[in-house]
Symmetry: C2
Subunit: 414 residues, 2 copies
């Protein structure tokens, strides 16, 4: 080893946090020759028309909870996004999480034949073709969707398993309020029932105030048509609400005078209708995606801790990171300008000293809501703190990742 | 026709611009029955892992200028994005425009074998693996790229042909300044030469001040790995500069003391090096994507005019729309918060009266730069205004679309 190499390695091991000197142990002096390309990808007509990812990329979704069968009609079926490989805030449409209660089949809809009906307690019943919907004033907004069942269990090893039932996309479509104003909501119209094209009629009941606020009838997703697994050609986006309200393959909106029970109800009926809307909101929540479960830090030194934060209550206002199991906290950097009800990327520069430690992240949203610890959640549900937490309803508790002295990262919940 | 239908049709024809009453002629009373789905898409393992778009979607890129051959080595080869079908600001990675000077083949690189070297006038020559690059602090930013040759000709019919050589993505990677600070730029290092893995060594020379400002070594694009056609596994992003500077399949950054001539030079050498950087900047520019060439308005009535604006000079500050061939202008709505050197979606509610008219859009950026008219560009180049404009260098002139009384939209440039 040359003295120059040796000097450099010493420098890097220090894990310097000086501006302009990050001390990344991985940097090495240049070798004389760099490898040549392996070959070329031929630009076929198909690849010219619509590109593909590299054959070396295998980031993929997995069935959530391990259940998967193409014949899984009648089963809850969920596909989790690979958050451990995520970068930025956009989830590629091909990797967006999927939740259905109808198995892994999805409707194969010809958009030329698809119609949206608005009916019920309205002055004018209306039916729209997709072409007609596209003529209305549109909005484009970044929003996350999250399944209410997205939660960490001690049997989960990766962040895809613990938190992969949420994704974020740039959605484009018509505000539901625009169409409801066209139809004219009558007195007494306090709820809407949104109904999709499904064998068993997937539907959700939503307060009309939410419908008039920020719900979007989406035909666009990440710059192209909504994907079939996301509700092609039309899905309802209910920003910040549990995933199940974001009805796919949307074909009817009925304005009604009371909460309608649907197949999609998971305990919502037990809630006071006056406060039900608040119960539907997701978060505040966050999770560290690197380093996360089953990943490994190859050596002590510099790392960027990175993760995602979100809240159904609005914009992410603050994310804190603890590297000592929640005893002390530091503010993370927020990437870009947080959008309301959208994933927000956070990060923090960190030098790992090689000792066992526990990483946590904590989100505070613009309403001042703070993501709770597992112990707080356990106390809320009157459960002993040293037992596995059995959360009723949503679980937005802090996710702890333990890093062993060998660099391996583990899910640290009990 | 019932009196209710008749009333509604009268209302809609008026094209009312009242809040809550857009008067969209396309809305119709509800029919009794809505169509059932055509069938189901089977959730195969492949579709669970990585989803696909609907078989009914055929939005596609086209070879720019009509030249395309898989054996087109040695030819300029450009693939234009379908802006006429774009929604929002994100271009799907599969539809992102492609420009190369090497034909439609692209390198097929194994990221495990790829290396980035930083050398030349630096204190420490460095070589990085992709894994090492991912350990550095990262940034995520929305940026457009545009080919300097992106320009409208009278022979072009669609906006894909006139303006399809620009796209916008969420890019993630390491700031080039971070690595240059690691390497230590020596006195006299005034330029960098960025070199990609290509048969004929695609390379560009960039002022070191730009390199230290906001250039990104990107491994992430729209939430996943950069696509092969965009430079997998690593591309240089030079925000706001002509597309050719955004070197793909990046493998070397050499710090040098003077401008280096490369195969990529298209007249840059004729410029004064002291001001060359400004000449490299794109825009300000904008184009209406709906309604645009070859589209058709089915009937008089309400439409949302929509388009994209961008500038290499920073954020889009204002977009104006003319519906009378540039005689009068109205401010368009800007969608969301404009990002620096990023596509910005604009729109304006409009009622077409059925008469022939000409639509134009005009972008002003945060520096106060205003997109010029075709006549201004002609005057700048000392060309008669009634002849086809032959622009030397970039062409960011205003795009006019003529709408005939039958609703057909045409490219109105001469």
């Amino acid at each position: 080893m040359s003295s120059r190499q040796s000097d450099r390695r010493e420098f890097l091991k220090r894990g310097a946090a000086l501006a302009g000197g990050l001390g990344l142990a991985a940097a090495k002096p240049a070798s004389a020759q760099l490898p040549d390309p392996e070959g070329m990808i031929v630009g076929t007509d198909d690849l010219v028309a619509y590109g593909k990812r590299s054959r070396f990329e295998d980031s993929k979704r997995i069935p959530h909870g391990g259940r998967h069968s193409p014949d899984a009609f009648g089963l809850d079926f969920h596909i989790a996004a690979p958050l451990q490989e995520s970068v930025g805030v956009i989830t590629p449409s091909s990797l967006h999480y999927v939740g259905t209660t109808r198995g892994s089949y999805v409707p194969d809809i010809d958009p030329a034949k698809h119609r949206l009906m608005i009916h019920g307690l309205v002055d004018r019943e209306l039916v729209f073709t997709m072409e007609e919907l596209r003529r209305f004033p549109s909005v484009t907004r970044l929003h996350f969707i999250e399944c209410a069942g997205n939660r960490s269990r001690s049997s989960h090893t990766t962040v895809q398993e613990t938190h992969g039932m949420t994704s974020c996309a740039e959605w484009t479509g018509v505000l539901l309020s625009t169409l409801l104003e066209e139809a004219g909501v009558q007195d007494g119209g306090e709820w809407i029932v949104a109904e999709g094209v499904e064998e068993v009629k997937g539907a959700s009941t939503i307060p009309v105030n939410k419908a008039m606020d920020d719900c979007i009838l989406c035909y666009g997703m990440n710059g192209e048509a909504v994907r079939p697994q996301q509700g092609y050609p039309l899905r309802l986006l209910v920003p910040g609400f549990e995933g199940i309200f974001n009805v796919k393959w949307l074909r009817r909106i009925k304005v009604v005078d009371q909460y309608y029970m649907t197949y999609n109800d998971y305990g919502h009926l037990t809630q006071d209708p006056a406060t039900a809307a608040l119960g539907y909101q997701i978060g505040p929540k966050s999770v560290i995606t690197f380093p996360s479960g089953s990943q490994r830090l190859p050596e002590p030194g510099f790392y960027e801790i990175s993760g995602l934060a979100w809240s159904g209550g609005g914009k992410v206002a603050r994310v804190e990171i603890s590297t000592d199991g929640g005893r002390s906290w530091q503010d993370a950097d927020i990437r870009g300008e947080p959008q309301p009800m959208a994933h927000t990327r956070f990060s923090m520069n960190w030098t790992w000293d090689g000792n066992e430690c526990e990483l946590q992240s904590r989100c505070t949203d613009e309403l001042g809501q703070v993501q709770p610890s597992r112990a707080q959640v356990a106390a809320f549900w009157n459960q002993p703190p040293d037992q596995p937490v059995r959360v009723k309803g949503q679980d937005n508790s802090i996710q702890p990742w333990r890093i062993d002295s060998d660099g391996n990262v583990h899910n640290a919940i009990i």
